[in-house]
Symmetry: C2
Subunit: 156 residues, 2 copies
């Protein structure tokens, strides 16, 4: 049973909304959405402008951004001047998680700095800060090992 046109269209728009909420542009999300539900292995620039009904400039800009963060991979063919695009087959969602943990590292380092600026290292706020730092230090130390378990389990 072939999915309805509207189901796909909805999916694309939803992808737009989801990624927009994550701080990416709506259009970039739509591109990803289309790449996910298109049954072609790779899609041309022109097809994107048409199916998403967007301007070339918007597609161009967002596509470049997606290629930059390696979510999308350009694909070329001999004797064809066009560039085609596909979901990067090696998007590393594990790496994506790791990058998010790095945000936490930034935050944790900042907390340490805050702690160092406090006069009384034993008052309520200081205690709170050091408790937080303690937890994050633990988390940042342990999470790579935790994530490695995935590889282990897959081998079995």
């Amino acid at each position: 049973m072939i999915p309805e046109y509207n189901e796909r269209a909805n999916f694309i728009e939803e992808t737009g909304m989801i990624f927009e909420r994550l701080g990416v542009t709506r259009m970039a999300g739509r591109i990803l959405g289309y790449l996910m539900v298109s049954d072609k292995e790779h899609v041309s620039f022109d097809e994107l402008t048409q199916v998403l009904q967007a301007s070339k400039s918007s597609i161009s800009t967002n596509l470049k951004a997606l290629v930059n963060v390696e979510f999308v991979k350009p694909h070329t063919l001999p004797g064809d001047r066009k560039t085609y695009y596909m979901l990067s087959p090696d998007i590393d969602w594990r790496g994506y998680i790791i990058r998010r943990f790095e945000n936490i590292r930034t935050m944790n380092d900042h907390f340490k700095k805050g702690l160092s600026l406090r006069v009384n290292p034993k008052d309520q706020v200081s205690k709170w800060l050091s408790g937080t730092v303690e937890f994050y230090d633990w988390l940042l130390k342990e999470y790579p090992g935790f994530m490695d378990q995935w590889q282990e389990e897959k081998k079995m």
Copy 2:
């Protein structure tokens, strides 16, 4: 050695920038920054407007938002009409991490939906999608147990 005025001022601005990048307003970040380095246990509304040189409206709005997400806790004193504010002593950073994982759940559910819309469940994109879903399913199942180890280790 008492920290320089400027070190604290810098810290506050940096906190603003960090939280802004996380999608919170700069002003909310500054409030948190000040609460972290102020040596008072709790801080009045008025003090915030003065030290951050911001309007009452901005402080009011951002403070309410921070109280709403339970990063900041209001504190009142008998015989005092003012409300004081402090870092919520039980900000749950573990819970914060968990909430971020919920974003991943949304994404993962969306990927499953995308997968269901594909005609050929064995082509490249489908494989990529199912690989991703597999990893995220694993992650979402296992991470609470992983995080619980923190409680265990602390008990020892």
